[in-house]
């Protein structure tokens, strides 16, 4: 239990560090957000006023403190009639979108979530399945096909796979829409139809890594003593495959958590190709317009999700493998001298 608390505390620490480092871009980039808002011509007085309104007129540590405080309690930009409210959790305010960053992120998040969940399910099922099939008969035709495909998938960039998919499936064959997003609540079928291509693109790119990992680890596991014991007991190969997969749960959960985190943080290129206005697209736009509060907010949300995904993997691992929970405790030793059981003495 204390181990779980330790992990949670460590994750919080990581978040604070990430946020502080991200916040530093306000000071490291040559962009002055106040100058952008000041209008033209920009008099020194106007600039100063804009600074004050945006909260840039205090020392950096004060700004950072206000920023952290805003996440917990919300904050107000400016004062009196011109005041802009930013409710908790306030991750800043975009003076380009004229909207608080939290609200912007909340709008985009469902799209990214839809992409990520579908992709992760598809890539785990396909990747793990292909790896298991290939491991059953190493060297067979099926194994060679899977191995070749996984090499292609691991080395193909997203924009190539995604563009090919759009060109062939949408434009040439006209089977699926080439882009855009339909909310789930407006109709799950349209929602899914719009997401099939991005899901398959991501699943193809990431799934190859799963297939390779599962294939080689399965072959190794199937050669271990416990698999031999199960085989000798007459268990069918299908059951022994499941034993082996169960032993791969820990590395797989680790890998899936990394991918879930990365996908939730926004699949930048895929979202751009399929015209999906998710977190990745938002981040890309904010970067090109130097919308610093949005960059900071999106980066923070991304790191939060990555940290959460890894935290859940950390908490799950000892459940999946009891040896980790016992901290590699040494095996019990045979109590010697062994007292014969009553039956043994009788025989």
């Amino acid at each position: 239990m204390s181990l779980a608390l330790q992990r949670i505390a460590r994750s919080l620490g990581v978040l604070v560090v990430v946020l502080t480092l991200t916040y530093a871009i306000f000071y490291l980039t040559p962009v002055d957000p106040a100058l952008r808002m000041c209008g033209k011509p920009c008099s020194p007085e106007d600039l100063e006023a804009a600074r004050g309104f945006m909260g840039f007129d205090t020392p950096w540590w004060n700004q950072l403190g206000t920023f952290f405080l805003g996440i917990v309690a919300g904050r107000t930009y400016g004062s009196a009639e011109a005041a802009v409210q930013c409710a908790a959790p306030c991750l800043g305010y975009s003076f380009q979108y004229h909207q608080d960053v939290t609200g912007l992120l909340a709008e985009r998040f469902p799209i990214t979530l839809s992409i990520a969940l579908g992709a992760i399910v598809l890539q785990s099922v396909l990747g793990i399945g292909a790896g298991m099939l290939a491991a059953r008969r190493p060297g067979s035709l099926l194994d060679r096909v899977v191995t070749a495909l996984s090499v292609v998938s691991a080395s193909a960039p997203a924009f190539v796979v995604g563009l090919l998919a759009v060109v062939v499936v949408s434009l040439r064959l006209g089977w699926l829409p080439s882009g855009g997003y339909e909310p789930f609540l407006d109709g799950p079928v349209e929602w899914a139809r719009h997401l099939i291509l991005p899901w398959t693109t991501l699943a193809f790119i990431y799934g190859g890594i799963y297939a390779r990992l599962v294939r080689s680890s399965m072959i190794e596991q199937l050669g271990l003593d416990y698999a031999r014991t199960a085989r000798a007991a007459g268990l069918p190969e299908r059951r022994i495959d499941r034993y082996a997969l169960r032993n791969l749960a820990v590395p797989l959960v680790t890998l899936i958590a990394l991918d879930v985190g990365a996908l939730l943080a926004g699949a930048v290129i895929t979202e751009r190709i399929f015209g999906l206005p998710g977190l990745g697209a938002l981040l890309l736009d904010a970067t090109s317009t130097a919308d610093l509060p949005v960059i900071v907010g999106a980066t923070f949300l991304g790191s939060l999700l990555i940290v959460l995904a890894n935290l859940s993997a950390d908490l799950l691992r000892p459940v999946l493998d009891k040896r980790l929970a016992d901290g590699g405790r040494r095996r019990r030793h045979d109590s010697t001298p062994s007292a014969p059981t009553p039956q043994e003495t009788a025989s």
Partner: protein, 544 residues
């Protein structure tokens, strides 16, 4: 059960992998209610023979000949048929119980699957009852606790009983036991052998026992088949094979088995060299304690132990797994942090000295480890590996090393030309002799040998021990010989320390400690050592 009730009959069994013939024409039979031992050293083909009969040969192996289980031919059957035969009619027990169960599953989960296949048993309550019944039948005192445990929560002995219980599910006719006690301590081994004997008597199963250990054969087998390089060298009843072996290889195998009583008696005749007046002991350990800390809890691996080894003497350190014997060796070599006590090498406590002198002091040590295959760099020549301590100690006279490598090789009775070979070109026994040569080349004053012969076949073990004994006598150095094998220690050591759970049980001259033990634990340990001929001296050689 009447004699001659043929259960398993192998006739001219032939196994080939690629172009290599692994087993050529094996004839063997197992009777119900009897134990047939298939004896051989590593590479003899004994495991492959047994596994091939039930369809578990390595991929690519071709099996020919005949293997009949109660008249049903097994060779040439489909994989599905063989799987059903394994599930319904054969139980199998392997070496290394610690690795024989999936580490992420509880014992009860394994039983659930195995009972479904072997007994068509389903339903939580019925499976639980049958599991408890089987676990109780193999002498596990608390079946409920065992069933709820993961493998790492059980000891080696408990695990092997669990494996045997799994093998007994479905009431098989035949039990194949492949080195079932090789990885276990002697006292635990005795319990498992007693269990096997009881199962055979009660359940009328036939057992095909695969082993390299003549002691184990003598304890439980009825019939013996000796295999070498895939061919049968001798077959007969236990009494015939032990008392009147016809084949030279069988005789070699029998004489290579170290006998405790003989070796202790022989050892008593050897007078250890005089210790020069006033010379400090090669090693002096006093009040040594080593504690491992893990997440707050501390585990005392060694608790206030002491010993002294004079130059020219061999000190045997015996104990079962987990007794702390390896930790003791490492503590002397400065490889584990010492919690309390002192270690002196040639009268110098290295931990109290500066860095340079500490290095010089530890350079007076030589070490030999258990597994010769992994303790030599596979990409370097034997000569390079042997010369390494000279280079490390910094006193490597350029050009002079070659002569010293040759000398070291001669010391372990290997030709000097071996210096240019690579480790994989050598056999296990030769590699271990190379390890000894490496440990001795820089003229150490103390040799620490940690289970140096445990990974070797008996005939090779006997030779390596002879080599070690002569090398030590020639170099006049002290030796700490760590082993679980009492007979080996008895044949080599001048003094013995018996260690149990980090504490010294008994310490003294070998002849006294092993010949006339004062402690119950030592007596128990000695009584557990399997003796090939013990049952021959009993009036009725067949088991009840």
């Amino acid at each position: 059960m009447s004699d001659g009730d043929e259960l398993l009959t192998l006739a001219g069994l032939h196994v080939e992998i690629g172009e290599r013939t692994i087993v050529s024409g094996l004839d063997l039979s197992v009777q119900a209610g009897r134990i047939t031992a298939l004896v051989g050293e590593s590479g003899s083909g004994k495991s492959i023979s047994a596994m091939s009969t039930i369809g578990l040969q390595p991929p690519g192996a071709r099996v020919a000949g005949s293997a009949r289980l109660r008249g049903d031919e097994l060779v040439g059957r489909s994989a599905g048929d063989l799987r059903r035969i394994r599930a319904r009619r054969v139980g199998t027990v392997f070496q290394e119980p610690g690795r024989s169960l999936s580490p992420v599953m509880t014992v009860s989960a394994v039983f659930r699957d195995v009972l479904a296949v072997r007994e068509d048993l389903r339903g939580r309550e019925r499976v639980r009852e049958r599991t408890a019944e089987l676990l109780a039948a193999v002498g596990l005192p608390d079946p409920g606790r065992t069933a709820g445990s993961y493998p790492h929560e059980l000891s080696g002995g408990e695990l092997q009983r669990v494996i045997i219980a799994l093998a007994l599910a479905g009431d098989p006719e035949l039990l194949i036991a492949d080195e079932p006690t090789t990885a276990l301590d002697v006292t635990v081994q005795r319990g498992i052998l007693e269990l096997l004997r009881r199962i055979v008597a009660e359940r009328e199963v036939g057992v095909l026992l695969i082993t390299h250990d003549m002691g184990v054969v003598g304890e439980i087998a009825d019939t013996v088949v000796v295999l070498k390089d895939g061919a049968v060298r001798e077959a007969g009843t236990l009494r015939q094979v032990l008392t009147d072996p016809q084949d030279t290889y069988t005789r070699e195998l029998l004489t290579a088995v170290p006998r405790l009583e003989e070796s202790v008696a022989a050892r008593a005749q050897i007078v250890p060299p005089e210790v020069p007046e006033g010379a400090p002991p090669a090693v002096r350990v006093e009040g040594l304690s080593v504690e491992y800390r893990r997440r707050g809890a501390s585990h005392r691996a060694l608790d206030d132990v002491s010993l002294e080894i004079a130059p020219g003497h061999i000190h045997g350190l015996v104990g079962e797994s987990g007794s702390g014997k390896s930790t003791w060796g490492k503590a002397i070599a400065g490889l584990v942090p010492v919690t309390a006590g002192t270690v002196e090498l040639d009268g110098v406590d290295p931990s109290a000295r500066g860095r340079a002198e500490r290095r010089r002091t530890y350079a007076r040590l030589g070490m030999v480890f258990q597994d010769p295959a992994s303790s030599l760099n596979p990409r370097r020549t034997i000569g390079w590996s042997i010369a390494e301590p000279l280079h490390l100690a910094g006193h490597a006279p350029r050009g002079g090393t070659e002569a010293r490598v040759r000398e070291a090789l001669e010391l372990v009775q290997l030709p000097g030309s071996y210096a240019s070979r690579l480790p994989h070109e050598l056999s296990g026994g030769q590699r271990q002799r190379v390890s000894i040569a490496r440990a001795l080349i820089h003229g150490p004053s103390l040799l620490i040998a940690d289970e140096p012969t445990s990974a070797l076949d008996v005939t090779i073990q006997a030779h390596v021990i002879d080599v070690l004994r002569e090398a030590i006598a020639g170099a006049e150095l002290a030796c700490l010989f760590i082993s679980h094998d009492l007979a080996v220690v008895g044949s080599l050591a001048d003094h013995v320390t018996v260690l149990r759970q980090g504490r010294v049980v008994e310490q003294g001259p070998t002849a006294r400690v092993l010949g006339d033990p004062r402690q119950e634990y030592t007596r128990n340990l000695l009584a557990s050592v399997p003796d090939p001929e013990r049952r021959l001296h009993e009036d009725d050689p067949a088991p009840a």
